[in-house]
Symmetry: C2
Subunit: 200 residues, 2 copies
């Protein structure tokens, strides 16, 4: 790790894509030599909790502000200022990986910005792993798959593309899970909001 720490995070009120993309892209950037760390801008929802438990991955640390700890950040799964960290204007945005429209976004310097009109951020991350020729480990594949299932509601949302589905099939095989079965369990865990807060 040669460089200063960089935080990687998704939007406020994080969904499964925002949390998993932060963890997964941090992993890729670390392999590529960046001193990256995933953080989250809000509480983890039940669905995401299920995912992190299932694949035995730690949740990112919570942050309200970032500028006292880092001077550079990477945004995943969002770009609009009002969805991001409160002190975004005090740090440099090094990269954005996203699948939403662009709005209320401005930088002072050139940056790496990668957006594609697909159903989920991790569908784009899948391509970045391939382009960088970094192997996707089963645990990482599981997180990426979970984000696609979540954002596309198991391929039923109108934002889902054939590419999301193809990537998800591939990831399910790497993660060694039954896509349909795992997907339904995961979505059910997210929908099941009553008793679970006691167990925490």
């Amino acid at each position: 790790m040669r460089e200063e720490k960089v935080f990687v995070f998704g939007h406020q009120s994080p969904d499964t894509d925002s949390i998993c993309s932060a963890i997964v892209y941090t992993h890729l950037k670390k392999v590529l030599g960046l001193n990256a760390e995933p953080v989250r801008l809000g509480e983890i929802n039940k669905e995401t909790e299920y995912v992190l438990n299932y694949f035995e991955v730690e949740e990112p640390q919570l942050r309200d502000e970032v500028s006292e700890e880092v001077s550079q950040v990477i945004l995943v799964d969002h770009n609009e200022r009002q969805q991001s960290v409160s002190d975004l204007d005090k740090v440099q945005i090094l990269e954005v990986i996203d699948h939403h429209r662009i709005a209320n976004f401005e930088t002072e310097s050139p940056l790496y910005y990668r957006a594609e009109p697909v159903g989920c951020t991790t569908t784009i991350l899948y391509k970045l792993f391939k382009e960088q020729q970094v192997e996707i480990e089963p645990k990482i594949a599981g997180l990426m798959l979970s984000a696609i299932i979540s954002d596309t509601l198991l391929f039923k949302s109108p934002t889902c593309t054939p590419e999301d589905e193809k990537v998800a099939q591939e990831l399910a095989s790497i993660a060694n899970v039954n896509l349909e079965e795992y997907g339904l369990d995961m979505l059910k865990a997210g929908a099941d909001m009553q008793g679970k807060s006691i167990e925490e």
Copy 2:
């Protein structure tokens, strides 16, 4: 060609990168099946004229407005609204390929946005050809090389990265030109600006 026509263009007062990127990216998109056509938003400068003559490539047609002819556009080498076509708000921005900061840019829908902090748009286009596994023909390589030479002033500008230089070497070999010799001739043709009065 299965789809409606899409215009591809760079910024107003076009430089060699804006003209060549429009031609080169149009070529790639056509190979990939899109009905693309390059246009330009202003007069071609002497340097670009030299480049197009050298590689025997036609200049794109001039447009002030685009929305009466197309409903979708692709921007290269710029993103800021005030540098773009006057009726940009009346069309859908399908893609942006650029190497500048992002500002005054907003879309209603998700899009393909590819920006990298390199010295020239065609350095990014080079990667897109590789990713799509489309061969770069000598003429196309010549245009891409010329844009890099122009934007980096033969690798002397502070915005030039090692990647720009590496890509330029590769392109020079495909285009079968002597990089230094061609580069100096090209820059000299641009510096030779007797007739030029409107801008700069």
